[in-house]
């Protein structure tokens, strides 16, 4: 309406001038139009320029000028509107950005507040752990974890793990000497420990002693749970291997061997087991204790026995510096794994059974095919090679006492060399998914590496020798046992997730159950310990969004108790 009224007003203003001077009419409207144009009043300029058309007797030149100015006014208006819209859009964008920043600032402030509150709760939880109030600690630590679900700090993660240990941890006390091995049935209902005190003890999930079996060898006190999970093997002090039921009854025994039994292994199909003796003889038995085959040939104690992944072959390793391959079906000798001139520290099958890797004290590793034929002598180490491992991704790892790790492909071609530690490497291996490998050293540190050889984390809080390192089945956590009387749980980022420090002696071994839900550790003080995996337990707890009473967190035990 406004441009139209202006236009009408200008017409009325122009009417008195009609007849006075046509050229003056043109000039006045043109001047008014130009002035409005210069003020960027493009609508007023347009009206004045259009008003010129009302003047009489316009020359062609004046009409051309009028049209030119009308076009300029139109264009100027269009440009002005375009600029105005752009300015408006810019202003809108700035406003939106300011809004986003404000929201981010608010979120950040909320996050910081949550982290601060969570840290406070975690600190109190840690204090409650120190006081022995495990349940209170767990409630506080769980709230701290819940507050910072996406951004838990290391202290919060540790307090949650320690609270779980204080609340759910079960200590098995009863052995008089070193606890050397530990087995937990998949249903978590039975725990079996063996000790240098010459006993095997069977416990229930709450840590109550159910049975004690005496007369067990302290020289080889290894106890192995059968794949059927209803019986286990133990070596007796009288140089026999006995099959025990889970309630401690002897189901069968092998004949007495000539000398101490140094090695014991069960085939993957669970139908047979093999022993290695100090007299250099290995033997294959069925579960009734009947001798299937005697594997004679070694000239020194057989200190390791392994079944190939398909159970078709048996590999025996002796301190006579040889490894020997045998056919499982009838115990026939297949071949001597040739070449090693030094002691064999470690021998391992690849997961597919097509490769065998030996670590030797002669500074070499030896790669064989599944039939024991040498593929490659792996050179490059400058010290005894003490660790050999093969991943499911067909990557080979060798580690030596000079702190060096070398990666190879399955044909023995060198891929990567890493100076992993300044002191001797004592432990090395792959994660179950093959994406990571670890090294443990006499410098008391453990390092986690990607399969490409990039250092991912350094676990350096142990104060004593590393006795054991094991990955969780999902490859997300790593458990270490140390002579500093602690077992520690870590994640792949290097965060300490649990610190078990209640032992009075070295922690000799540690591990996870096959489902990864529990982790265990055993010590030279005669004690053993079982506790829930904090990662799994937190997931279980968060599956129940409404907790009627925080105290009932403790009811959500993984065992459903």
């Amino acid at each position: 309406m406004k441009p139209f009224s202006q236009f009408v007003g200008i017409i009325f203003l122009a009417l008195p001038t009609l007849g006075s001077s046509q050229s003056q009419c043109f000039k006045e409207f043109l001047d008014l139009g130009v002035q409005a144009y210069n003020r960027e009043d493009f609508q007023g300029a347009f009206a004045n320029f259009r008003a010129i058309s009302g003047c009489d007797q316009l020359t062609a030149n004046q009409v051309r000028q009028m049209n030119e100015w009308i076009d300029k006014a139109n264009k100027g208006y269009a440009d002005f509107m375009t600029k105005a819209r752009k300015d408006a859009e810019d202003a809108r964008d700035r406003a939106l950005n300011a809004l986003d920043e404000a929201q981010q600032a608010r979120d950040e402030a909320q996050l910081q507040a949550s982290i601060s509150e969570a840290n406070r709760l975690a600190f109190i939880a840690s204090q409650e752990v120190e006081k022995g109030n495990g349940n209170d600690a767990l409630v506080l630590a769980y709230r701290a974890m819940d507050l910072t679900r996406k951004h838990p700090t290391p202290s919060i993660l540790l307090s949650f793990g320690n609270a779980i240990d204080a609340s759910y941890g079960t200590t098995l006390a009863g052995h008089d000497q070193d606890v050397l091995s530990m087995n937990i049935t998949p249903d978590h209902q039975t725990i079996i420990t063996s000790s240098a005190d010459g006993t095997v003890k069977i416990w229930d999930p709450e840590g109550a002693l159910q049975h004690t079996l005496s007369g067990i060898s302290s020289y080889c006190s290894k106890v192995i749970l059968a794949p059927s999970n209803d019986r286990f093997l133990a070596v007796n002090a009288d140089r026999k291997v006995s099959v025990y039921s889970l309630d401690g009854k002897i189901l069968a025994s092998t004949p007495t061997q000539n000398e101490e039994i140094a090695a014991l292994a069960i085939s993957h199909d669970g139908s047979t087991f093999a022993t290695g003796g100090r007299d250099g003889q290995a033997s294959l038995f069925d579960w009734q204790g009947n001798l299937i085959a005697s594997l004679n040939g070694h000239q020194a104690p057989v200190n390791a026995v392994q079944f190939s992944p398909d159970d078709s072959k048996i590999l025996t390793v002796s301190t006579d510096k040889t490894a020997r391959m045998w056919r499982r079906s009838d115990g026939t000798f297949i071949s001597t794994l040739q070449d090693p001139a030094g002691f064999i520290y470690q021998a391992a099958f690849s997961p597919d059974g097509n490769r065998i890797l030996l670590a030797s004290s002669d500074h070499f590793a030896y790669l064989y095919d599944g039939n024991g034929q040498l593929i490659q002598k792996l050179a490059g180490h400058d010290a005894p090679v003490v660790c050999a491992a093969l991943s499911i991704n067909h990557v080979l790892l060798t580690a030596s006492l000079d702190g060096k790790v070398m990666l190879w492909d399955q044909d023995g071609n060198h891929k990567v060399t890493k100076s992993a530690h300044e002191q001797a490497i004592t432990h090395a291996g792959f994660s179950p998914d093959g994406n990571y490998w670890f090294t443990g050293s006499r410098d008391h540190t453990v390092k986690i590496w990607t399969v490409e050889g990039t250092l991912k984390a350094i676990l350096n809080q142990h104060l004593g020798a590393i006795n054991d390192i094991v990955f969780s089945p999902d490859s997300q956590l790593i458990l270490t046992a140390s002579a500093d009387h602690t077992a520690k749980l870590w994640d792949l980022a290097g965060n300490l997730r649990m610190n078990q420090d209640a032992f009075q002696g070295e922690v000799l071994a540690a591990g996870f159950t096959s489902d990864g839900n529990l982790l265990w550790s055993c010590s030279s003080d005669g004690g053993a310990h079982v506790v829930d995996n904090p990662e799994v337990l937190f997931a279980k707890l968060t599956e129940h969004p409404v907790l009627p009473d925080e105290r009932q967190i403790e009811l959500y035990h993984l065992n459903g108790q």
């Binding site: 020194a300 005894p384 001797a424």
Partner: protein, 302 residues
């Protein structure tokens, strides 16, 4: 008011220790002797090398024929025990160090003749240190094995005390003969003095009459005086030196018997007598009290 102070507490603790110590003594056979024998060598386990093996066996050592070998990655220590006739068994423990630092060896990693070795067992002993490759990977340096041998058995008691009887002592009844003999010998010496005096007097008479008054007597009378003096002197001499000898022998025997009894009593105390715990009240000012404070303490003495 009774204040049970530190002395009381320490006294009780000491009593407990003494009682325990005495009970433990009675609970086991006597340890008669102990020996430490070392064998040193240079080891490079990964290279399967053991060189410069040297055993330090002294002339009086009862751990003999010591030898050390590296066989199939295991250390094999050989030795022999030389039991005395009264030694029944020997407790053998092995300590290992590498480059002068103790090397912890688990008992279940030691096979063979450690622990209690009976006299009737074969003299040649073998100890195998196993699992070296698994436990240590690369033992390298100066190795030292120490054999600690403690021989035990029946102690031969020098003074023949029997723990069933009373504590040996030099009783007044045993001393009485010595006192009587001492008195008698003293008496002999006393009587000797009388005879000595008599002899001297008679001899003086003899000299007097012979020198100054030869006219007063006959030769026979002078000779009689002389013989009497001589006879008294002989008696004096016999009594004097006989009594002295008897007294000296008696004193010597007395001292010998006293020493023997004392040593027998000590032997009895060491091997037979139960620990004696006596309580003696002590009233005084406790050490813990200072200034003008006063009090009483009850202290037990052992």
């Amino acid at each position: 008011m009774t204040i049970v102070n530190k002395k009381f507490r320490n006294g009780c603790l000491l009593a407990w220790m003494v009682l325990n110590a005495s009970f433990s003594v009675f609970g086991q056979a006597d340890q008669l002797s102990s020996y430490r024998t070392t064998v040193t060598a240079r080891i490079d386990l990964a290279a399967d090398q053991l060189t410069s093996v040297q055993a330090e066996v002294g002339p009086n050592q009862k751990v003999k024929e010591v030898n050390l070998q590296l066989v199939n990655g295991e250390l094999v220590l050989q030795y022999e025990l030389d039991f005395a006739s009264n030694e029944d068994y020997c407790d053998v423990a092995i300590d290992v160090s590498l480059d002068r630092r103790p090397l912890p060896i688990k008992t279940y990693d030691l096979l063979g003749n450690t622990g209690t070795q009976q006299r009737e067992d074969p003299a040649h002993k073998t100890v195998i240190l196993t699992h070296l490759l698994e436990n240590y990977l690369d033992l390298k340096g100066d190795l030292m094995l120490t054999i600690n041998a403690k021989f035990s058995g029946t102690r031969i008691l020098r003074y023949g005390v029997t723990c069933d009887g009373p504590r040996p002592a030099f009783t007044p009844r045993q001393k009485l003969p010595h006192y009587l003999v001492a008195g008698a010998s003293a008496g002999m010496i006393g009587v000797a003095q009388i005879f000595k005096s008599s002899s001297n007097q008679t001899y003086s008479e003899y000299e007097h009459y012979q020198r100054d008054h030869p006219e007063d007597g006959t030769r026979e009378a002078f000779d009689r005086l002389y013989q009497d003096a001589n006879s008294d002197h002989k008696i004096y001499w016999i009594l004097q030196y006989g009594g002295g000898a008897i007294l000296a022998a008696n004193v010597t025997w007395f001292v010998v018997r006293a020493v023997r009894n004392k040593r027998a009593g000590k032997e009895y105390d060491e091997y037979c007598a139960p620990a004696k715990v006596g309580f003696q009240p002590y009233v005084g000012r406790p050490e813990s009290l200072t200034g003008t404070e006063t009090g009483f303490s009850l202290t037990y003495h052992f």
